[in-house]
Amino acid sequence: MSSHQIQSFADALKQSADHFHGLQQSGRKMIGYFCTYTPIEIIHAAGFIPVRLRGGPGTVEKAYSHVPDFICPYLKRCMENATDGRYDFLSGLVQGYTCDAACGVVNIFGDVVDLELIHAVPLPYADGEAARRYFHGVITTLADKLNAMDGRFSNEALQRSIALYEKIYGIIDQLYQQRLDGDLSIDAGDLQTIMDAGDVLTPEDYLRMLETLKKPPSEHGPQAIDGCPVIISGSLIESSVIFNLIASAGGRVVADDLCTGWRRAYPDYGHSEDPVDRLFYRHCTRRPCPSRSLAVDRSRVLTDLAARSGAKGVVFMVQKFCTPHLADYPILSDELKAHGLPSLLLEIDETWQTGEQLNNRLESFFDMIAASTAEKLS
């Protein structure tokens, strides 16, 4: 994979504001969302462009007229962006129900952005027949709302949208699998850049760019193998800064459990003829997020990832005040410890200022892992 290729994803991110306004001017409608549980295939099938809202680094001032300071920096930044008019290109906001904070913000988003549609999708937590039937109702309601704003949802369109996302997730998943096998030529920061670009491109353009990545040969060969191999887990990391920090402190990310990372790139829609059933299948089987699952289930995912990637520890990089992640941490760290995997919890705020202290804690963590590995070997 060439640095030129990565640069095209980075450029897409840089030019996103112009890109969105260009799309808006050409008559395309964009629907924002926060969490990857949002059934974006439905939005796309109705003829709209799903856009994952990015918070970005910065300060929070105006947003405090709408939200308390004790919600996660990501949402605070999104509200700040909204008050600054940075989401004026949006026609709607649709959010698959995840955490209280995200859905609370959905409730008040209309106070700052003028939108045709604001809707939180009450997704089922259970699986089984009753949940499947209920899911169909939930999707019909969403599709009706989208059609009421000139959408053109149909089952055939949904089949096509699913096929498109299946390809996107398939390619991304492949990259993550390669990384697990130590066979990826780019570092975690670059991989994140590729992922992030998916937030700001139409899925069609994104797929085209991803397809260029499939072409061998790799320029640099497999990933360098120095650094302490770790998994990074958390909700959102919207910048490669964090990955660079880990690298400079002596770590090497070999797998992730991030909402902006591998967790969203789940390619399996099952084989049903009915496209809504296919969505339901993916919804039920996808990699778990703490706002909709048990910590013990996530610990299984993490230990499995560690076994496959050779990770020696887990760095939890959590947005400050993020209830789902903070509430899971004690159980997760306990379970991981029982499997011989040490963990470290770090919290990030809206400035993304990583600072000396964070660096020191990471260095000590990697040193501790190196010392215990050496002890085991001796």
Binding site: P68, F70, D100, N107, P122, Y134, G137, T141
Partner: protein, 420 residues
């Protein structure tokens, strides 16, 4: 006075004193259930499961309700220490930190208030509701591995959008629960018994509504300081005990209203409290009385203002479940706004206290929108009080006094201006 000193609540209702007996009896029943062979199930509040439990002679226990008890008895710091030592962040909801600390700490101490909580035979883990409640139950599942677990789904849907699909789904979850309970406890559900239980629950709701109506009287016959009466709505809905107790409260409140007996001599300002009370300092409700303010109404009470049709008990319980919890969560801000505006009109409110609750993002989110609507639609001023419903470390009495005093002065100036 010490800046963070706890102030004692001043209660005026005789029936509030009687509440102590009801609470003691409820917790005695919880602790004796084990020895009587009655299965104990821990569950979240504000849903239709409680009536199913009473109809099947099972004992419901509410860990969320135990937290205010811990706060009232000054046990929260101890419980917080335990959970924080386990790695639970101070930024998490205080109910979560308290109950997890309790089950990993003093649960075995039989000297705890009311003999403490009996360990659960059954755990009813909610999917839906707020994330902290869900996470409390995940932690309980791990702490009590012997307990039988039911995980029930609940659509997180705003009240104004509830449709037949949501109702049908909750009814199917209720049937699944009955099957689970029958299997786990060997007890069968008698439908007539369920109808009776739902009828009792409905009576309790009707009494609740009637009691709240008397608070529209000027002067108000009782204030938020007496909100402990809500205990029966949380823990005993569907029982004769709740109906009897609420009848007693209703009679007393009705009489006081007829006599024009107010909370204080000169009720000058009628106030509304948004968000959960400070369970470790309920005396705050009385604080405003020195300046002529009475806390006439609060967000919480509306959650019980529903009616239930006993002829279709499963549907009634499904509706109760779907309607109750969004009233105090972030599921529907437009409904919450509507509810606060209506309460302010009905109760002739002069000013609103918005408790910005560090321990509860779901209820706090949207408060600024409520604040604006109050001003725009009714011209009612409000003040934000930064605190925490469980953790006294996030509350400063001095800061509270400064804000509350300034607010009351502002209300007085406004009144004077109007009069002149």
């Amino acid at each position: 006075m010490n800046a963070n000193a706890k102030t004692k609540t001043r209660k005026r209702l005789q029936s509030s004193k009687e509440l102590g007996r009801v609470i003691t009896e409820y917790y005695m029943k919880c602790t004796s259930a084990k020895s009587e062979g009655i299965p104990v199930g821990w569950m979240p509040p504000m849903n239709g499961v409680i009536e199913l439990f009473y109809a099947m002679d099972l004992q419901p226990v509410f860990p969320e309700n135990w937290s205010p008890v811990c706060a009232a008895f000054g046990l929260t710091p101890q419980n917080f220490t335990v959970s924080e030592n386990m790695g639970y962040s101070r930024d998490l909801c205080g109910y979560l930190r308290n109950i997890i600390g309790y089950v990993h700490g003093m649960i075995d101490d039989k000297n705890s208030p009311f003999g403490g909580l009996p360990e659960p035979d059954l755990l009813l883990t909610p999917w839906g509701g707020c994330v902290p409640v869900m996470k409390i139950f995940h932690a309980l599942e791990r702490r009590f591995p012997e307990a039988k677990i039911f995980r029930g789904d609940l659509p997180q849907v705003p009240i104004e959008e509830i449709n037949d699909d949501h109702i049908a789904y909750v009814i199917s979850e209720m049937h699944r629960l009955v099957e689970f309970l029958s299997h786990a406890t060997g007890r069968r559900l008698d439908l007539d018994r369920l109808r009776e239980t739902v009828a009792l629950s409905d009576q309790a709701c009707a009494l609740w509504d009637e009691i709240m109506t008397y608070r529209t009287c000027i002067p108000a016959p009782f204030s938020a300081a007496e909100m402990g009466i809500m205990f029966v709505m949380v823990t005993l809905q569907g029982t004769q005990t709740a109906v009897d107790y609420l009848t007693m409260v209703r009679d007393e409140v009705r009489q006081r209203a007829a006599d024009g007996a107010g909370v204080i001599e000169n009720e000058t300002f009628r106030l509304f409290w948004d968000n959960i009370p400070l369970w470790y300092n309920m005396g705050l409700f009385n604080y405003f009385e020195a300046a002529g303010g009475v806390m006439v109404a609060e967000t919480y009470s509306a959650a019980w203002s529903i009616r239930m049709d006993p002829s279709d008990p499963f549907r009634a319980l499904a509706l109760k479940t779907l309607y109750s919890y969004p009233m105090v969560s972030c599921v529907s801000i437009s409904k919450r706004k509507e509810m606060v505006i209506k309460a302010c009109r009905d109760y002739h409110i002069d000013g609103v206290i918005l408790h910005r609750n560090k321990s509860c993002a779901p209820i706090t989110l949207g408060q600024m929108a409520i604040k604006r609507q109050l001003e725009d639609e009714l011209g009612i001023p409000s003040v934000i009080i930064d605190a925490d419903h469980m953790d006294a470390r996030n509350f400063s009495m001095a800061q509270f006094q400064t804000r509350a005093d300034a607010f009351m002065e502002m209300l007085a100036a406004k009144k004077q201006h109007r009069a002149s």
